[in-house]
């Protein structure tokens, strides 16, 4: 970490010239004398100001041109000192593994950019939520420290491999701390790659960073731990708020869930049903009786082939775009069609071309909820005839991830059977 975090140009020169560093307490003379501490600069700020914190706790930017005098008084260490975890293992409690991949739930303020960045270790997270100590013995491990928009299928694979290494362990379940933006994609991949996994995997995120008193991180984490310890059910789940209130946390089936709001705590919704489980303060309500994994035996298939694309059809869609996919060697295209699963007549030729190139073509709907049915209207029947596979009520994002997974684990690229088979509750019955 630099002594001049965020400073550049004139303000950096000013600090260096006066031999003042971030964290130093100084006497600054402008129109009046003030004692203040130099703070890191917001990364995209100009180079005309230095940021200081007054004794009252307020930060302000002082224009260097207005500073008549600056005198060093003392230094403090702005690096956070880590407090050692005081939790001792309690032999009577079950063990849970907490894997951290990043995201808001595992983030803290970065004074370089002035924004929230993923940096908190899983251990820190545990320190912030001491209640976990009463529920389970939690081991923490940092896998990545990435916002979820930066996660790729390679990360999914690494996560699955890590989890696979714990398939035969004494953990009662695994919590995966994850950014919320792409949490549903990771959940879907883990569901297919680790079908039949013997212990529950619960992805947890937060919509309000853990540095705020109102953060949802702690309650989501606590609920995930309670769920693992009390529910005795296998599967991949996403555990997030069920409403604006802190009193009920939903555990959604990992293949049936979507982030439906940009900012609310209860952004995640199970599509077409109520959440499988609701974790309350003292009880767990079970709404779904069906098994998550359709096969009992654990058969990991942890490969991925990213040559699958998700195409949202809209009026005016240019068929050339699909032609580009064909020429780039794509092996599967999942359409998000209109209504019951339609795309316009202008697409028919390119569909034929794709089919000739042995590309899997699956149909989902861009409607928020409901099942694809291509037998109702003429255009649907035309598309069926052209060889498009209807994917019933599988969520389009889940279908995309499933196609990547299926391509990665099939030698001849023939994924029709895998795509229509219900593996991890991606289809409702």
């Amino acid at each position: 970490m630099s002594d001049y975090r965020g400073y550049e140009g004139k303000s950096l020169e000013f600090l260096k010239h006066n031999k003042i560093k971030v964290g130093d307490t100084v006497k600054i003379t402008t129109n009046s004398d003030n004692v203040a501490t130099i703070m890191p600069r917001y990364e995209h700020g100009d180079d005309q100001h230095i940021v200081v914190k007054f004794k009252s706790g307020y930060n302000v930017g002082l224009e260097i041109n207005n500073i008549k005098k600056i005198e060093y008084i003392s230094s403090i260490d702005t690096n956070q000192t880590k407090e050692p975890s005081t939790a001792k293992p309690k032999p009577q409690l079950p063990k849970i593994l907490l894997l951290s991949t990043g995201g808001t739930i595992a983030s803290k303020i970065d004074y370089r950019t002035g924004s929230v960045t993923p940096a908190l270790s899983a251990h820190d997270l545990y320190a912030i939520v001491p209640e976990l100590d009463e529920i389970a013995n939690v081991d923490a491990e940092v896998l990545f420290s990435e916002y979820s928009e930066n996660l790729t299928p390679e990360h999914w694979k690494k996560t699955a491999e890590k989890l696979d290494s714990y398939s035969d362990s004494d953990y009662r379940g695994v919590i995966v701390a994850h950014g919320t933006d792409t949490m549903q994609y990771t959940a879907a991949f883990l569901s297919f790659a680790l079908a039949g996994f013997p212990i529950p995997i619960v992805l947890v995120g937060s919509q309000r960073s853990s540095d705020r008193p109102s953060s949802d991180a702690a309650s989501n984490l606590i609920a995930a731990a309670k769920f693992i310890v009390k529910s005795n059910t296998g599967g991949v789940f996403i555990s997030m708020h069920n409403s604006e209130s802190d009193d009920g946390i939903a555990c959604h089936f990992g293949t049936r869930v979507r982030k439906n709001h940009t900012s609310k705590r209860n952004a995640f919704e199970t599509i077409g049903a109520v959440p499988a489980f609701i974790v309350k303060q003292d009880e767990i309500i079970q709404n779904s009786k069906s098994r998550y994994f359709k096969q009992k035996q654990y058969t990991p298939k942890i490969n991925v082939d990213t040559r699958a694309a998700l195409v949202k059809y809209y009026p005016g869609y240019d068929p050339k775009l699909v032609r580009d996919l064909i020429s780039h060697g794509y092996k599967a295209i999942i359409f998000e069609g209109t209504g019951l699963g339609h795309i316009g007549k202008n697409m028919y030729d390119v569909i034929k071309e794709a089919k000739e190139s042995q590309i899997f073509l699956g149909m989902t709907s861009q409607c928020h909820d409901g099942r694809v049915n291509m037998a109702i209207y003429e255009s649907g029947r035309d598309l069926l005839h052209l060889g498009i596979t209807p994917l019933s009520d599988m969520i389009s994002e889940t279908a995309l991830v499933k196609a990547m997974w299926a391509l990665g684990n099939t030698k001849d690229g023939k994924i029709d059977r895998l795509m229509t088979e219900n593996i991890a509750s991606e289809y409702t019955e």
């Binding site: 003030n34 703070m39 100001h49 706790g57 008193p213 953060s215």
Partner: protein, 631 residues
Amino acid sequence: MSDIEIDKIGLKVGLEIHQQLATNKKLFCSCSPMESEDYPVKFFRRLRLAKSELGKYDPAAVFESSKSKLISYSANPQSSCLVEYDDEPPHSLDNDAKATSLIIASALHSDIFSEIHVMRKIVIDGSNTSGFQRTMLVANGGYIEVEQKKIGVQSICLEEDAAKLLKDTENVREYSLDRLGTPLVEIALDPVEGTPSDVKKIALTLGRLLRVTRRVTRGIGSIRQDVNVSVSGGGIVEVKGVQQLDQLEGVIMYEARRQHGLQLIAEKLKKIQFDDLTKENTLDVTSFFGNSKSKVIQKSLKDGATIKALKIKNFDGMFGYEPYQGIRLGKELGQQVRFFGIGGIFHSDELPNYGIEKEEVEQLRKMLKTEEIDGFLIIAGSKDKIEFAIDAVINRIKDAKNGVPAETRAATPAGETVFLRPRPGASRMYPETDIPPITISNSELEFAKNNIPKPWDSAISEIQTKYNLNKQLSEQLFDSDYLDLFESICTNKANNPNFVASILCSTITNLERRGLDATLLKPEHIARSFELLSEGKITKESLEMIYESIMSVKIKSVEEFIEKHSSSMSEDELGQFLDDLIKSNLSIIKKQGNHSSSVLMGMAMKSLRGKVSGEKINKLLEMKISKILEE
């Protein structure tokens, strides 16, 4: 016990004024602050401690978190959105509020910062859904002139108002979100030496300066004074929530007595030895009190409380020592524990009492192994709270040696103050990362300078000339909550300004002095009543009656008053009217018998509608007809 000599204790008072801005928008979203009566949205939250950027916990926040309550929020979508629910990041800073804060800073000759950083001030009592209040330091320094003396300005901040507390029970605290996020300007003045009435003058002058801008809200709750009071050698005590200027002097006097009293107590404590006071001096006496006849004790036991006794060496007489009336260490300790939801404490200087008998006290002394010169305390409370309370009490007793602890207190309506929480430090603040720093441009500074309001006296003489009012009435009007309303009522020239002003300034104030609730009388009511007056639909005399009825919850609208009072047909008049009606329709009655009543009813209603209830007319009419038929 002699009373305090106010000029000899080094009394210093710093004013801090919070003024709502009349932007009609929240500071970080475009919802308009308005009071609601129903709340279709309800949700529950729990707040947790968070560390500041320096990795420290704030003492005030730690204190609040130790009380950990479930918070219930009620909201109306007309006055709040996801931003207030803490379910959406704040939108950008409202430009009108920014401009107003810059105008006020310019009027106070303050140095405006060219780059403003929005901060989060941790407040976890639930009054902010996020667990922090957004606040920004806009300017430093400057002064205000009060009677040819310059009073220094420390700082000017722009911040969000808090949610309104609806109800506070042991485990749940309820707030409404109508007011949350309303822009406030906070002005802190340098502490001054002087009498409480000098301080009041300063507050009045500053309040006037703000109102001259015509950009601030008027009315109850729209301006709030906090005062920082200290006596020489003592910590600074921040007293929050002085709603009205009249309360200010009383609160300062009370604090002066309390603080100097605490110093007198400290002098006594310095002479005795009790430094080894720790939690080990406590004894669980729950079972000992099992058969106590004290009702207070029995009630606590019934609620499942644990009772603990704490021994303090050489402390006999120290809890009850009263240097000024009502100022005792025992009272201070009672206030400390009350904030953990614990009713209070019993101390050895007041026992036997409250149903605790002499024998019990003697036995207790034996169990605690106390000598006569030792003191003890009894605290009862639930298991999860009592430990916090005992820690707080021990710390407070140790601190008593140092005189006045720096803390935050709340003003009571009776003009006293009660302990609220420890004084927060710098670790209470960290940057609001959802909003980038805000640059103040030269054109904004220029605009602010050009819009510095004219001095208060010229504002008064302007009103005087424009409406032909005398000076006193103009001043009263300006200091009242009704200036804007006055001007809008007088725009159409239908009412005499002198009459309007005197109704607004004296009639309503008189009703308020009689104990009626002025908050029930809304500007719409007043405006409507003058409208009806100018249309000749009501008399001048009825204005007071209307306001009185509204302020005493008898009616809800001006129309309701008119309806009630135009229906004043006496019983005799009604009887006469119906008799006349029957007389001229005898033939119909004879022909149709009892059925004729409906025909006559129709005729009667034509003239009596709105004056007498139909039910009443019908009853009387039927009676009169059957009487005729019997004859």
